[in-house]
């Protein structure tokens, strides 16, 4: 059991939890939040693989990828929220469902 293992298993769990939220929530904002959790899991996984506690340090390539990834994720989030607003304006509901008239789901 070491740090690498702890963080990579945390990362895979975060990815799965995010995926679950993405599938479970009909509300668009909750879907976008879940996507952000998945992104956090992916970033954590990349860095946990790049991390070597003592000698060579951290692999700079995944670090650079995560750094750009964080900025891309926030701009994608802003765009997605904007799309969600447009969907709300057009359909009158902020939910994404197969059957909009199904009230108990």
């Amino acid at each position: 059991m070491n740090s690498l293992l702890i963080y990579s298993i945390t990362a895979t769990s975060l990815f799965t939890i995010g995926l679950m939220g993405l599938a479970a929530h009909p509300n668009l904002i909750r879907k976008i939040i879940s996507l952000n959790i998945m992104a956090g899991g992916v970033f954590l996984f990349l860095i946990s693989l790049a991390y070597h506690p003592d000698d060579p340090g951290v692999d700079p390539v995944p670090q650079a990828m995560v750094l750009t990834g964080i900025v891309v994720t926030i701009s994608a989030t802003a765009f997605a929220l904007c799309l969600a607003r447009r969907i709300t304006e057009i359909t009158g509901s902020s939910r994404l469902e197969d059957k909009p008239e199904d009230t108990d789901s």
Binding site: N2, S3, L5, I6, Y7, S8, I9, T10, T12, S13, T16, I17, G18, L19, G21, A23, A24, H25, N27, I29, R30, I32, I33, N36, I37, G40, F43, L44, I47, L49, Y51, P56, G57, V58, D59, P60, V61, Q63, A64, L67, T68, I70, V71, V72, I74, S75, A76, T77, A78, F79, C82, L83, A84, R85, T88, E89, G92, S93, S94, R95
Partner: protein, 305 residues
């Protein structure tokens, strides 16, 4: 001791993520997501990536929080449905997926060094000392260039959807009360200073265009939150120049080196080139992120059922 701390951070990340997904109240989920960003930046610090921690704290807790809170106000006012947030039928496939991925993690070889030797070997070829900045601005300059393009596309997409041509007329939040004005008066200069400092550090220590740009963007959004138009004050032409200057400076560098040495984006001998591109990229990143938040539109009250 470190192991115990790692375990604590990992478990709280998973727990908070679970609470975010499982919570029925949207507002609670957004607040928990901000907490999630802060704990994640703790994890980055532990993984020896302080610059990612800064970016995560500014983006995950700051900008994302503003965006989601704003969207929450505009999109949905009612709480979610009374049934459990995550159905059991979804839980089992996800548990299986999680265990498959966890098992896959166990097979990662411990002595896997990745690209560390390659990057450290190539550091002698560049005028930058900090490897992450060298990767971003020199070795993989193409990726950074196109990444600025992605930011521009996101801004153009939001502008297109909102059917607005500039951010100068965007809706302002209510003006801040005296305490809010006071804290902004103190924090804004410090944030601008820290953003510039991070940018300057980038050549030889953790810092650089992305970290500095994100902190500057957070400062601009904070100003906007207090009821000040911030970037909206700029004439449209200047705003466009700031938006595009990072992308354009990469373009100029690419063509200059193409004519000069026959290769696109080849290493410029002069350090000033890299500095210029980095500064322009910082300004563009900050402007794009501020514009993305500022272009977030007015309220639209609709039903959420």
């Amino acid at each position: 001791m470190n192991l115990a701390f790692d375990l604590l951070v990992g478990l709280s990340l998973v727990w908070v993520a679970w609470r975010i997904v499982g919570s029925r109240d949207h507002f609670q989920a957004v607040v928990l997501f901000i907490t999630f960003g802060l704990i994640l930046s703790l994890a980055w610090t532990r993984l020896q990536s302080p610059d990612i921690a800064i970016a995560e704290a500014a983006v995950g807790a700051g900008l994302a929080g503003v965006l989601f809170m704003d969207a929450l106000g505009g999109l949905s006012s009612s709480p979610g449905s009374p049934r459990p947030a995550v159905p059991l039928t979804l839980l089992f496939p996800c548990l299986i997926l999680a265990s498959i991925m966890a098992i896959a993690v166990l097979f990662v070889p411990e002595d896997f060094l990745g690209l560390i030797p390659v990057v450290h070997g190539a550091l002698t070829d560049t005028s930058l000392e900090y490897p992450v900045t060298a990767v971003l601005l020199d070795f993989r300059a193409y990726d950074t260039w196109l990444e600025l393009g992605v930011l521009l596309v996101a801004v153009l997409g939001v502008m297109g959807i909102r059917r607005i041509g500039s951010i100068s007329g965007s809706r302002l939040p209510a003006p801040a009360d005296p305490v809010g004005r006071w804290i902004i008066r103190i924090l804004l200069p410090i944030m601008v200073l820290i953003g510039g400092y991070l940018l300057w550090l980038g050549a030889f220590a953790p810092g650089g265009a992305f970290q500095g740009g994100v902190v500057l963007a957070a400062a601009g959004v904070m100003l906007w939150q207090a009821g000040h138009p911030s970037l909206g004050l700029l004439p449209r032409l200047w705003w466009i120049v700031l938006l595009f200057c990072g992308f354009l400076s990469f373009l100029i560098l690419a063509f200059w080196s193409l004519f000069h040495s026959g290769r696109m984006l080849a290493h410029p001998e002069n350090k000033l080139w890299i500095l210029g591109v980095e500064y322009a990229a910082t300004i563009s990143i900050a402007t794009c992120l501020i514009s993305l938040v500022l272009a977030s539109p007015g309220r639209c009250r609709v039903r959420d059922n």
